[in-house]
């Protein structure tokens, strides 16, 4: 590899109150390469990127671009130096159109007047070029997360930067879109663009990346050429030791039926869905993004109005018209979009962890502080959440650690039926395997779990039975011993 070096970051340090987020990290990016950045939740990947993008200023260290030392004091400086970033948190303005978002800060037009039509046309051209089937004049708030993610990607690519950074771009988009994204990335690298790529999906490394740099606890661990290394070696570098038994699942005879849904429809995305769940069972819901799996879960959790069909819990017919009622019946739903649907960003980790179980330590006007602290700590430990204190604002945790807190919140409700929508999205490989362990423990104790997931391996390895959905309908149910990747894909493409 003798290509020109585009970017060097030398001995970068960044400290936050109580956290040494970057501790002497160095990084190098060459022309035309895709360089992966790997590490556990809270390892410092996003922080490094934010230093490069001018969101944070490094406490120490140097950045060189094209061999010249540069000062990146703000987002403007980063742009000037040819750096474009897709951040882990989507930063689109929801009450502006797709086109306005794509060209935010570089609007078309003369003087102060914006040429709306031209902007819409240009944006539409970009979207079409990247096979993103969205109209440029719709409001971003009306799009799904997957679509918003695609808009972010198009926006970053359209800036014609030399250095493109993608912080977990594929965590919420469908396989088909991932294909197009990789296609685009290959195109870009041919033109000499260097791409920094962050993901927790190990399989993507081989597909798209040339080199990989591993970080752990804010420190640089090493850089490897993807072709010459193994997944196990990288995992060992990431977590500090080898990881055996990735999936943990002890199958046992499930008990009585605890939940039965018959002919559930929501008049929109969900069409005549029926399924049942037994005590101590894990059922998986597989399908493509947009198949109506999350909508089905929302419908039975009382989050959708005008749901028709029957829900039976422990053999008795019930009506669920709000989450409050669903929770009374022992249901819990860990939502898919945990940022939007779960996070109280300005509040502490503790507040976020305990908001659903307040009755366990608040009686009238007396608060049992000790109990609240213990409860919070229990789930922080259970999920191996990295946070300096319980009172840290959750918004200051790394993306993956925020997810862990929110999952912990719902575990704390001790549900009978736990619905997990994409439980491992955005969490690191160590934590994923811990989530599997926890799921296994829970079903042993008699909890029943519904897992919606787009990751086929976890569906296949964790479920007693797998329901496959396509276009709002259940197209089949496979038993543990008959579920294969092919079988699922066949049903999903119905």
């Amino acid at each position: 590899m003798s290509k020109k070096i585009l970017l060097e970051m030398h001995h970068v340090h960044k400290r936050f109150a109580g956290v040494h987020a970057l501790n002497d990290v160095s990084f190098e990016l060459r022309e035309g390469e895709v360089h992966a950045l790997l590490g556990e939740n809270g390892a410092g990947k996003s922080t490094l990127i934010k230093v490069l993008g001018g969101i944070y200023q490094a406490d120490e260290g140097e950045i060189h671009i094209d061999g010249n030392k540069v000062e990146i004091k703000g987002v403007e400086d980063a742009k000037k130096n040819g750096v474009a970033i897709i951040h882990q948190e989507l930063v689109l303005v929801s009450h502006m159109t797709v086109a306005e978002n794509i060209f935010l800060g570089r609007e078309f037009g003369k003087g102060v007047l914006v040429n709306r039509r031209k902007m819409n046309e240009e944006a539409q051209k970009l979207l079409d070029e990247h096979q993103v089937h969205i109209r440029a004049d719709v409001l971003v708030g009306k799009l799904t997360i997957a679509q918003q993610q695609m808009v972010e990607i198009v926006k970053a690519i359209s800036q014609n930067s030399k250095i493109l950074v993608m912080d977990e771009p594929t965590s919420s988009i469908a396989d088909k879109e991932v294909e197009f994204l990789f296609e685009t990335m290959r195109e870009l690298t041919k033109r000499g663009v260097g791409i920094i790529y962050i993901s927790h999906k190990m399989s993507e490394l081989e597909q798209i990346c040339d080199r990989v740099t591993v970080m752990r606890d804010g420190m640089y661990v090493g850089t490897e050429v993807v072709k010459n290394t193994t997944k196990d070696k990288l995992i060992a570098m990431m977590v500090g030791r080898a990881l055996e038994n990735y999936y943990t699942r002890d199958y046992h005879e499930p008990g009585e039926e605890v939940l039965r849904c018959e002919h559930i429809s929501d008049g929109n995305m969900v069409k005549d869905v029926s399924f049942h769940l037994k005590k101590g069972e894990i059922i998986g819901f597989a399908g493509l993004v947009g198949a109506g799996r999350s909508e089905t879960m929302k419908a039975i959790f009382g989050l959708t109005k005008d749901v028709s069909g029957e829900i039976m819990i422990n053999g008795g017919k019930v009506k669920v018209t709000s989450p409050v009622e669903a929770m009374k019946h022992g249901l819990a739903l860990v939502p898919e979009d945990r940022k939007q649907e779960g996070l109280y960003k300005v509040q502490s980790v503790r507040f976020n962890m305990t908001i659903e179980v307040l009755e366990q330590f608040i009686k009238g006007i007396s608060v049992d502080d000790k109990k609240e602290i213990e409860l919070t700590q229990k789930y922080i430990d259970m999920m191996s959440t990295k946070t300096p204190t319980q009172m840290q604002k959750i918004g200051n945790l790394s993306g993956g650690n925020q997810q862990k807190v929110i999952i912990g919140r719902w575990l704390a409700t001790n549900p009978n039926v736990l619905i997990l929508d994409e439980p491992t999205r955005g969490v690191d490989i160590g934590a994923k395997s811990e989530i599997y362990v926890i799921m296994n423990e829970l079903v042993k104790k008699g909890v029943s779990i519904i897992m919606v997931s787009s990751e086929l391996p976890e569906i296949i390895n964790m479920s007693d039975r797998v329901y496959v959905m396509a276009e709002g309908r259940v197209t089949g149910c496979l038993n543990h011993d008959e579920v294969t990747q092919e079988a699922v894909m066949l049903l999903a493409a119905h």
Partner: protein, 330 residues
């Protein structure tokens, strides 16, 4: 999960609440201290400022603002605003006074009627805000005008006088040596603090203000929370209204003009975010104290009332600015 990293972080046994309070409010506490020290030493004010009579005077003057500011803290944490509280002060005051002057009702019943009128407007605000998506700013802007208008219609624009010692007890009386409004204020502050920090409802307020969508997923009854908070605001404004009417021996249709702005100022100076989701009642208390002490000091110095507004505005800006600097560096 045994084979994977299992750092057992040690349990923090409990947080030092006092220390946290100091840290969070350091900026405004210093501002308040400086203000008090200044007033105790400036030649124009040093003789009078620290007298117990003046201190109670300040406390009595801030009592109505404190009541509204308590409720306003919750409204703003909820991500909303309540502009109607100033007008409620007028309406509940004139109704209470009218009950005595026009219908000869017993004073206790009249005061109760005043408070109920305020609460009723709170109920109306709460109902509309919790069942529709009309922004609280608009809803309470409307009820602000309606309530003020009703007060003027009812009185024909001139004060309704009540000349009796008993009437004056709530706003001007004493228990021992402590003014009654100060006692009411302390009760309201304690009640609000308990509600916000010690109850489930309190947590739910923060949750709804922080992320309403997440609150729905958490099984929180968002509309109940909004309704309750606005009723509470109406109640507090109603009480403030009868205190003021009592102290002035009359229900005045112009009472409480701009009171909503003083309350908002106290809340914002106290560090509550207008964006919702975060804030503390402790900060509001200090905020209300700062504004009260400032008013008092300017009066003692005989500063022209037009200039008083300018100074007040500048101090609010300064306090918020200090907060901004601190947050930026944090």
């Amino acid at each position: 999960m045994a084979q994977i990293k299992k750092k057992k972080s040690e349990l923090p046994v409990s947080d030092n609440k006092g220390l946290m309070f100091l840290r969070e409010n350091l900026g405004i506490l210093i501002a308040l201290a400086i203000l008090c020290v200044l007033l105790s030493f400036l030649p124009a004010t040093s003789s009078s400022f620290l007298s117990s009579q003046n201190i109670f005077n300040v406390l009595r003057q801030i009592s109505t603002n404190m009541l509204i500011a308590c409720a306003m803290t919750m409204v703003i944490i909820l991500g909303g605003i309540d502009l109607s509280v100033g007008s409620i002060i007028a309406l509940s005051g004139v109704i209470a006074a009218g009950c005595v002057a026009r219908y000869n009702l017993p004073i206790a019943a009249a005061l109760l009627a005043g408070v109920l009128v305020g609460t009723a407007i709170g109920v109306f605000n709460g109902f509309v805000i919790s069942t529709t998506t009309i922004p609280p700013f608009i809803v309470t802007l409307a009820t602000m005008n309606i309530a003020r208008g009703l007060a003027k219609v009812y009185t024909g624009g001139s004060p309704v006088r009540v000349m009796s010692k008993q009437w004056q007890f709530i706003g001007g009386g004493y228990v021992g040596f402590i003014p009654v409004p100060v006692i009411i204020m302390v009760i309201a502050v304690v009640a609000t603090a308990l509600l916000m920090n010690k109850t489930k409802m309190g947590r739910h307020i923060y949750a709804v203000g922080g992320n309403a969508q997440a609150a729905v997923f958490s099984g929180i009854r968002v509309s109940t929370v909004k309704f309750t908070v606005h009723v509470y605001a109406g109640l507090m404004a109603g009480i403030a209204g009868i205190i003021l009417a009592s102290r002035m021996y009359s229900g005045q249709p112009t009472a409480g003009e701009g009171a909503e702005m003083d309350a908002i100022a106290a809340v914002v100076v106290g560090g509550t975010s207008m964006a919702g989701g975060a804030g503390k009642i402790g900060g509001t208390i200090i905020g209300a104290l700062i504004i009260g002490v400032l008013n008092n000091g300017l009066n003692l110095m005989n500063v022209n009332s037009f200039w008083q507004d300018v100074v007040k505005g500048a101090v609010i800006l300064l306090a918020v600015f200090i907060d901004y600097i601190r947050n930026k560096n944090a």
